[in-house]
Amino acid sequence: MTEILSFHNVTFSYTPEDETARKAVQNVSFTVQQGEWIAIVGHNGSGKSTIAKLMNGLLYPAEGEVRVLRSALTEENLWDVRSKVGMVFQNPDNQFVGATVQDDVAFSLENNGVPYEEMVLRVKEALKQVKMDQFLNHEPHHLSGGQKQRVAIAGALAIHPQLLILDEATSMLDPQGRDEVLSTVQALREKIGLTVISITHDLEEAMLADRIIFMNDGKKYAEGTPSEIFALGEQLIEFGLDLPFAMKMTKLLQQQGVKLIGQHMTEEELVNDLWTSNFNK
């Protein structure tokens, strides 16, 4: 497996002159391998958005090192890195640069000096991948939030990125828009083996990941597979995170004296357990 991105003891503070001030990110290390889907979770102010900004040179670490595509991120290779890392932000409106869907997707290509003939192909290809190829000439205010976010993903895909970062990309969407975006990302991973880092406070979204990094107060609190992280149970609630519906349901049922075996992350598991463990012959 090849390493795509890694943090080595990264520390960052928004007020470097004040030694005593709380650090936004403190001594964080992790590695992301090619093809993985990593979710970084944490409540507001846990440092997860700062981590996103450190990943593509919007911020530079005060201490430690950020390595992207096996080389340390510096001001020299900044633009090179940005041409290989796609990023989707929270607000669907505030990242839509072009006048129409196709102009917006082409924006990053224009910036990277891709010739016109290739741009046309890549814009079409990227929009097809997110199933927005019917909307080439639509203006942003005629699109739903989920559609705008899919266009933003297409814009990121058009540069053929090695890594896609979703910085709270679903948090401003309605449930339907969120599902649209998440299923698009899942399909992309299956089809082109894209590496994805999603920064989120939505644990249902995090559940889709291969690995979860749990941030609290600027530090990495825990790291592991979704089932390992959700095994923390009570602690997640303490840190202000919302458990997935199935887990909440399991807990409530157990409190009511319903016999259930262990924790359940998905509705299907819960339902299966419900009818098997309470099945009287």
Partner: protein, 265 residues
Amino acid sequence: MMEKMIFGRYIPGDSFVHKLDPRAKLIFVFAFIFIVFFANNAVTYGLLLAFTLLIIFISRIRLYFLINGLKPIVFLMIFTFLLHTLFTREGAVILDFGFLKIYEQGLKQGIFISTRFLVLVFMTSILTLTTSPISITDGLEVLLNPLKKLKAPVHELALMMSISLRFIPTLMDETDKIMKAQMARGSDLSAGPLKDRLKAVVPLLVPLFVSAFKRAEDLATAMEVRGYRGGEGRTRYRQLKWDYRDTICLISLVVLTALLVFYRN
């Protein structure tokens, strides 16, 4: 009221005029503004008017719609007409009210000037009605390109313009939302003396500005992340294509100029 205003509005279509390259249209209208001043007699003004009507016909914009939308301008036209008619004192007297005399030259002048005005307003309206704002921006950027040599930030200006255009509907929505939010809190924007109404606008503008700045910051970050670093080394996705139509358009302009020069006094 806004529905009737046609300034700066774009009406999609696929007429000959719609399909013209924005560069051709811009050059045409810009040159036309100067050519209009060649006209100085009935024949030449007639030519201009006929030409304009022909273009309106080709653009398939209904004349009624155009005139209806230009009502605010009509007042200005009548004013110019009266001004010239009443205050030019040359030639024979046509009408004599005793205290007021209307001279032949004055009437002529009045008609000419208002025709000139009408033709100019029609022509520029046709430009904006048949060209999307973003195409106008593209056209301007390419036409102003030579100014880059003088270190004029042509690309940046064009980008600013296109982003502003892109955000107009977004900010309109936002204004609407804030207005409703303030109305729900009991602020009344539509009643009371002017002073009160102006005061009521402040709680509307402040949140709008704050959010616009927030948006601008987000947008700048998003643009930077997507590799934007100024106009250098950038390619263009919107291509402008100059074809036979555009050449015809400019040739017609040359012909018109020749005719005007030939027939003027």
